[in-house]
């Protein structure tokens, strides 16, 4: 269903503002949601955009930004894209599949977003055909072509602990003689969601859990080339770059197709901007304002702006998302609108309590059950999603919860009555005899995306993905690194299935509402 987004935004905003007396959040550019490369618009201190759950807000600390000439906003390379192309403020500084479809429709597929290099399933496909961009249009996925074998810290090919074969590839890219695994420049194409460029002080912190050696396995952590200090390794799905600057350099070369490296001044400008942007949901369409002065202190983008980064929140002192039980029990009266709002707020509070306190057995998840907690471990959402205010891992955060590895990854049921066919590649990974088998998956693993293992070359890393921050979720569906959950409810359902949690319908609804309010 296509949302009449501008009208929703205006109508919802005006009704909520009148009902809840919410002050305007600042200058907005509604209805022009799309920020194209090189437009030269001014980026204000606050931007509000509607989404299915309400309104998300992007805060920019410091002064407003003139984007003209700024390297985050200018098309610096042959693809015609800018960083902002895939990091849209209306999409929580990520890119939703809905937006991708809208751009396809608005430009007949000519937007630089659909650049052949990675905005299509494979560059060798007919680029004017929407089917060639199906993974971007349906799941919001960008092609990431990684070298095989992986490169070590010295840039030389490493001897990985496993072999890899292509079992299935509907995109054709991994079998391509030009772009594939058996090409002169062997590469493995995986398809991943763009991560939000916001709240970056949390994704790059140097606080709790950041050590010279990786907390999951004891191997050396990547280091900031400028300072020599270890990085938290929570950037990107596979932590392949240690800092915002190194990530920007790579993104400019690959996604933007920039012919020369980003200059230091360009890197600094991008770093400065990315360090000033905070995103969170600000208004819930049923619960109203999430940023009232006497409301829960952990909601809204200002909480992130003011918060301390890299703090463990999996405790009842700091909390992951502080709510102070403010919405535990709210009054009912004659005003049905207020009653409905209060009921929605209580649901968010209950969802928070499910997140923090509803235990379930977490089993066979690499880098969680293998790091001293036992297998299984009776814990809660907040065990892994424990970082104060973001729900990320405070330490190096890649983990296998099964979103890309079989048997847990979502696969199309094949039968004569179903016309749908798999969209993602499937790889067979075989751990070599010189290493122990994967402790929970054995020596042969089938995966849609080997994740961190394509960087580390380690068998135990197959299918591990860096935990994503949980803020601004409502603005950037679909979810999981492979876009396999189309809604937040689908995320909750996945966990319920994966860990046999047995959530009640009420718990599912409350948890979904809580996530949507972040």
């Amino acid at each position: 269903m296509t949302r009449p987004r501008a009208f929703i935004a205006i109508a919802a905003a005006s009704s909520l503002l009148s009902l809840l007396a919410i002050p305007p959040a600042g200058t907005t550019d509604l209805p022009d949601r799309w920020w194209g490369p090189g437009e030269g618009r001014s980026w204000p201190n606050a931007l509000d955009y509607s989404n299915d759950s309400g309104t998300s807000r992007v805060l920019l600390t410091g002064s407003a930004l003139a984007t003209r000439g700024h390297p985050f906003f200018e098309p610096l390379g042959a693809s015609g894209r800018a960083c902002v192309t895939c990091h849209q403020p209306a999409d929580g500084m990520s890119l939703s599949a809905t937006t991708a479809r809208e751009r396809w429709k608005a430009t007949q597929g000519k937007d630089p977003l659909f650049a052949a290099v990675d905005g299509s399933n494979c560059p060798n496909l007919p680029q004017t055909d929407a089917a060639s961009h199906s993974l971007l249009l349906e799941r919001g996925l960008i092609r990431v072509a990684l070298p095989w074998p992986p490169r070590g810290a010295d840039g030389k090919p490493m001897d990985p602990e496993f072999t890899i074969e292509v079992v299935r590839d509907p995109t054709g890219c991994n079998g391509s003689p030009v772009y594939g695994l058996y090409s002169p420049d062997p590469r493995i194409s995986v398809y991943r969601r763009p991560r939000p460029v916001a709240n970056t002080k949390y994704t790059t912190h140097e606080n709790f859990g950041v050590l010279p050696f990786i907390g999951k396995n004891g191997l050396p952590a990547t280091r900031d080339p400028d300072t020599g200090r270890p990085s938290v390794m929570n950037l990107m799905a596979d932590a392949r770059f240690p800092t915002l600057r190194t990530q920007a350099v790579d993104a400019a070369a690959t996604h933007l197709q920039m012919q020369t490296p980003l200059t230091r001044a360009q890197q600094d400008a991008i770093f400065d901007f990315e360090s000033r942007v905070y995103v969170a949901q600000a208004v819930d369409r049923r619960a109203g304002s999430l940023t009232e002065a006497d409301g829960p202190s952990g909601l809204g983008p200002q909480a992130l702006q003011k918060g301390e980064a890299g703090v463990l929140g999996n405790n009842t002192t700091r909390w992951v998302i502080p709510m102070e039980n403010k919405w535990k029990t709210l009054p009912r009266g004659a005003d049905e609108a207020v009653n409905a709002r209060n009921a929605a707020r209580e649901s968010i509070q209950r969802g928070h309590d499910v997140y923090m306190f509803r235990t379930f057995w977490i089993r066979d998840s690499m880098h969680l059950n293998s790091v001293g907690l036992g297998n299984p471990t009776k814990r809660t959402c907040a065990t892994c999603h424990g970082m104060h205010l973001t729900g990320m891992d405070t330490a190096n955060g890649w983990m296998d919860i099964g979103t890309t590895n079989l048997p847990w990854a979502s696969e199309v049921p094949l039968n004569p009555w179903n016309t749908a066919r798999p969209e993602l590649p499937l790889f067979k990974v075989t751990c070599k005899e010189r290493v122990p088998p994967h402790p929970f998956l054995g020596r042969v693993i089938y995966t849609q995306d080997p994740g961190r293992a394509l960087i580390s070359g380690r068998c135990n890393d197959v299918g591990t993905i860096v935990i994503q921050q949980l803020r601004g979720l409502s603005a950037r569906a679909p979810y999981f690194s492979n876009g396999s959950a189309s809604t937040l409810r689908a995320v909750v359902d996945y966990y319920d299935r994966r860990y046999n949690i047995g959530y009640s319908e009420q718990e599912k609804e409350d948890l979904t509402n809580f996530l949507g309010a972040l």
């Binding site: 396995n217 405790n315 009842t316 509803r358 297998n375």
Partner: protein, 260 residues
């Protein structure tokens, strides 16, 4: 036991043991069992018809970390006189090593029963820690203020047949920081491996090349973490000391000496 033990390590006939083993020792390989409670789960294992308590679900920094279903576990413990926990005789001290090879038969989860409720507060509840931090805060260590320019020794410890793991950062980071602060000229690394004497007289040997692999890996990790200036002297003791069933776990180690 033999299938798991053969996959786990080299199984040797009992060697001559100098003294009569302590009858309270309980060294064995078995499937772990997890028992739910109203609070945190208990970890147990059965040996010769008796149930033993191994540990509680805890945190990364716990002195004893729980084993894994889907894998057997080497238990090296001593029967204590403490009251049973979760129905199991308490082993204390106890050292646990997860067997790397999967074993699908290790899949016993017991439901909670009122009679097995914990009679004490566990180190932390099953959800978020109750006001206390989940485990010790260990921010990135800073360089020591006053570094004495004298050799300093460190010991890395391992599970049976284990290499570095999640506990390594906390053991190895101080080595790195001291070596950098001292501008170390040389680092001596000596790898060891062990044998384990089980209560039934069986001896398990760690993999023959493990002492070398452990030592070389530590050197590789320190270099990889940026400590490239010092000269590395990497050696290993190929032979495991004769096992006594008491302190065999102590021989699973790497000694590191940092020299100015």
């Amino acid at each position: 036991m033999s299938r798991g033990a053969l996959a786990f390590g080299l199984l040797l006939p009992a060697l001559a043991v100098a003294a009569t083993p302590d009858p309270a020792l309980r060294n064995f390989v078995a499937c772990p069992i997890v028992r739910d409670t109203a609070s945190v789960p208990c970890w147990l294992a059965e040996y010769q018809g008796e149930l033993y308590f191994l540990t509680l679900q805890a945190d990364v920094s716990a002195p004893v970390n729980p084993p894994w279903l889907g894998h057997r576990v080497l238990v090296e413990g001593k029967r204590s006189d403490k009251p049973r926990i979760c129905g199991g005789i308490v082993l204390e001290p106890v050292h646990l090593s997860v067997v790397a090879e999967p074993d699908a038969s290790c899949n016993t989860m017991l439901p909670a029963e009122d009679r097995y409720n914990l009679t004490f507060d566990p180190p932390r509840p099953p959800g978020p820690s109750g006001g206390r931090l989940a485990f010790n805060t260990l921010p990135m260590p800073s360089a020591p203020a006053d570094v004495k320019r004298e050799p300093k020794s460190f010991t890395m410890t391992y599970d049976f047949n284990g290499m570095v793991n999640f506990k390594t950062p906390f053991q190895l980071a101080p080595v790195l920081e001291l070596a950098k602060a001292m501008s170390a000229s040389r680092i001596e690394i000596t790898g060891h491996r062990s044998a384990a004497l089980l209560s039934d007289g069986t001896v398990l040997q760690e993999r023959p090349d493990l002492a070398q692999r452990r030592a070389e890996q530590i050197a590789e990790l320190l270099r990889g973490a940026g400590l490239t200036v010092p000269a590395y002297e990497v050696r290993w003791v190929q032979e495991a000391p004769p096992p006594d069933g008491v302190g065999d776990y102590r021989h699973r180690q790497v000694e590191i000496v940092v020299l100015p």
